[in-house]
Symmetry: C2
Subunit: 207 residues, 2 copies
DNA sequence: TAGATTGTTAATCGATTAACAATC
DNA sequence: TAGATTGTTAATCGATTAACAATC
């Protein structure tokens, strides 16, 4: 790894995209790839790809390109996907159901390991092979199962209090589908994924 | 509106966030808001909020702040949310179900107006008050219903061909949930919302 | 060797933030 | 008037891209 530069969020967001393409190349048994080829396929400037990767180490060979297997291995390590990462999902509504069933697709060493809901009628039900748990078991379960990340799929009014619960339980990364801004301590990363804001910003570009 | 500056994507992504907070203020009957108050609540620098808004017009009053109702009206216009915007959803799987049922929540003049799926067993079924249609009706329906945006919730291998169908049908904005990069003509905006990449980049920040 | 491609520096471009005159 | 807050300019910061020596 090395190269103690500060890595920008933009770089970190591109790494999974690179990884996805490289995994595809593995599948079709391509063993070497150039930044130019990657850039063409991912719509990213080749210089940017080289710079992004070079921030973590000298992964390529001049005149040749990158060894696909080696690069996959390196990016997995950078993203800490070498050990399984367990994820909690809070909110077993429509979206929560969809995402937890989607679980199988996450693979790549990510797994939803616990599901929580505040509704007593849902607690105890099975979902994607897990039993839906009440919120007051959240902290204990997250500690016991060594869960590191969380997905919030509760309605907007509940999102902040769920976020508070999660951060108190030691969660350091949250993917928030609720259509609301949430606040957390600076060392907790929050990514937003709500459909409404996304669509509204797309609307700006119409005609 | 006016101020023929070029508006950056970053600004456009913040406008829906502002709108959401302002709508909340309307609900609780607050009539005036300062950039400082907005910034505190949304975790955005107040100078940035003022600059973002000033790019579209002089919406505030010095010494006073912004009139909430007026600002809501203005941002709605900027985002073209004054007329109903119709959205097509392609892929009636788990996620497609969740999002189309979520439909009611979209409100704010956005509505899923057609649902498509390639699976003949799903075609003809009802979903969120709509009949699932086959892909070969896509172009005609999009034209007839004046659909402007689309959501892709098909498996990754099908995403590019669906994207091609959509752009040929005149769609100018796509929200892509499929875990794959898709290519489209330059005048088509694509936003990515796949869960896996989002989680993977969160993983980077762990310890 | 000739051609290709990296890693890196320098140049460019763009976005964020601070500061403050204008003014309500 | 005094206090508050905008709109805007200038300063800063950061990210992207071009260019090229190094080298496989």
């Amino acid at each position: 790894m090395a190269k103690h530069e500060k890595i920008s969020e933009a770089v970190v967001r591109r790494l999974p995209i690179y990884l996805r393409y490289l995994s595809y190349l593995q599948q079709v048994e391509v063993t070497t790839v150039s930044s130019q080829q990657m850039g063409r396929n991912l719509d990213v400037n080749p210089a940017q790809i080289r710079k992004d990767l070079a921030a973590f180490g000298d992964f390529g060979k001049k005149g040749i390109g990158y060894d696909v297997n080696y690069l996959v291995e390196q990016i997995r390590q950078i993203l800490k996907l070498t050990d399984e990462i367990r994820v909690a999902l809070v909110g077993a509504g429509n979206l929560g159901h969809a995402i937890s069933n989607y679980n199988a697709y996450l693979k790549d060493n990510m797994r939803i390991a616990a599901i929580f809901d505040s509704n007593p009628n849902k607690v105890g039900n099975e979902l994607a092979g897990l039993t839906i748990q009440p919120l007051d078991e959240l902290a204990e379960t997250i500690a016991a199962k060594q869960i590191k990340l969380a997905i919030i799929t509760v309605p907007a009014p509940a999102a902040q209090s769920v976020c508070d619960l999660l951060t108190q339980a030691g969660i350091k990364g949250i993917l928030n589908f609720a259509p609301t801004t949430i606040r957390a301590p600076k060392d907790v990363r929050i990514h937003y994924a709500d459909v409404t804001s996304n669509l509204q910003s797309l609307a700006y570009y119409l005609t």
